[in-house]
């Protein structure tokens, strides 16, 4: 029970701190808006075309937003070497990892929720297929990015060029998940095929990588 208590306490602390210093949130919100607008300048599709490409565009935009969130996962802990205090305590490394991953997940979902109406408006998007499927797709896809992203953010704490290392490590490994997210979304929007394979792929990907990250995180945290 103590494991969950630590996860809850850490998540609550992070959410509270994020809420207090609204700078980061405001910056991220504005950044998300910018991304959507710039993409709209780059692509001016008809409603028909947009259904075909929106899946890719939207997820690339979400990916950018995710990187911004992920890059500051450990920023507060770094400032006063708080991770030392964490390592000195009997709390398990995985409870820290899950709390950070959940926190990132919430932030990214919030950004996605804000960007989506804008995309719908700018691209005149409408789903021909079962629109409700977009919810599990968004959840699974975002978790895939966030679980690996939180892990790689911890790895890049021990590297030079931290902010570049995170996307550099995250993008290649995320390719299967990205394919899943994009194709599932396109499938739902165009209604031309079933998203079921891609959703299954995302589920499998999420399970495998969540377990792998949980098994490896303590080793990464304890690396000096």
């Amino acid at each position: 029970m103590s494991f969950l208590a630590v996860v809850r306490a850490t998540l609550a602390k992070d959410l509270r701190l994020e809420w207090r210093s609204k700078d980061a949130i405001n910056a991220m919100l504005f950044f998300s808006l910018l991304v959507v607008v710039i993409f709209s300048f780059a692509f001016e599709p008809t409603a028909e075309e947009s259904r075909k490409i929106a899946g890719g565009l939207v997820w690339v935009a979400f990916l950018f937003a995710a990187i911004v969130v992920l890059n500051q996962t450990w920023a507060r802990e770094l400032r006063n070497h708080v991770l030392d205090a964490y390592r000195m305590s009997p709390a398990s490394a995985n409870s820290l990892f899950l709390a950070k991953a959940f926190g990132n997940f919430i932030f990214v979902i919030v950004l996605e929720a804000l960007m989506t109406p804008l995309f719908i408006a700018f691209y005149r998007l409408g789903a021909i297929g079962p629109a409700w499927e977009l919810l599990p797709i968004a959840t699974l896809g975002t978790w895939a990015l966030v679980v690996n992203g939180t892990f790689f953010a911890a790895i890049s704490l021990r590297t030079r060029s931290r902010e570049v290392m995170l996307p550099l490590l995250l993008f290649p490994i995320s390719v299967p998940a990205l394919l899943g997210m994009v194709n599932a979304t396109t499938a739902v929007l165009t209604g031309e095929e079933s998203a079921r394979f891609w959703i299954t792929l995302l589920v499998a990907y999420d399970v495998v990588f969540t377990i792998a990250c949980l098994l490896l995180f303590e080793t990464i945290l304890e690396a000096e």
Partner: protein, 227 residues
């Protein structure tokens, strides 16, 4: 180096020469593509060799995470480096083959795309090693090695499914292989494996020597301080 090394070197040289002959002259000319098709004997075995090496990297990464032995780390580093080299050969010979035959430099077909993603994953692995500060590169790289290897089946499977849904020109063709060509293919693969082994062995010894020098230097600075 041990005695085995020169023997391996000779075997490699012989095998490579023989394989080269077979590939360029011995093998029958392909009906539709002509002599250009012979690049196939380099394109395919280089990929297979790279896969084998990445599998070794996976094993070595796990071994390092469990036992923390420096030898495991050096094997992981070596196999990743040489694997990337062979994969690069595959990625470069692809377009070289494609251009005269199909008129295109690149296509996002199943094999090429998957290979490209694999290449990206292992290049990011090498970059992580280069960018790690402190002595943490082995541990961090081992973690990435495991994650990267776990990703490989997902890469291939997802791209394969995508391509069956959205077919595009395929480089390398499918279909059955003339047994004489298969024979040459296997000879080339054997030659590549020997070459890979030779290069890995050399790289391994190089890394071991490099670490011994570093050890010696640290030991020196350790003893120096005892004024």
């Amino acid at each position: 180096m041990k005695r085995g090394f020169p023997i391996l070197a000779i075997v490699t040289a012989v095998l490579l020469s023989f394989a080269l002959y077979e590939a360029l002259i011995g093998a029958p000319t392909e009906r539709s593509m002509g002599d250009v098709q012979r690049i196939f004997y380099y394109h395919v075995p280089s990929a297979w060799t790279a896969f084998l090496l990445f599998f070794v990297n996976f094993g070595a990464s796990i071994a390092y995470l469990v036992k923390r032995r420096p030898a495991a780390d050096i094997v992981a580093l070596t196999s990743a480096e040489v694997g990337v080299v062979f994969l690069t050969v595959n990625l470069v010979t692809g377009p070289i083959w494609a251009r005269p035959v199909w008129g295109i430099w690149w296509t996002w077909d199943w094999r090429l795309t998957s290979t490209l993603v694999m290449w990206l994953i292992y290049v990011s692995y090498l970059l992580l090693r280069r960018f790690s500060s402190g002595g943490q590169a082995p541990l961090l790289a081992a973690a990435l090695g495991v994650l990267g290897a776990l990703c490989v089946p997902f890469v291939y499977f997802s791209i394969w499914f995508f391509r069956t849904q959205h077919p595009s020109p395929v480089i390398g063709g499918g279909g059955s292989l003339d047994p004489r060509m298969a024979h040459v293919l296997l000879i080339n693969w054997a030659a590549f494996l020997c070459l890979a082994w030779l290069v890995c062995w050399t790289r391994y010894q190089l890394e071991v020597a490099k670490r011994q020098v570093e050890e010696a230097q640290s030991l020196e600075s350790l003893l120096e301080g005892s004024r």
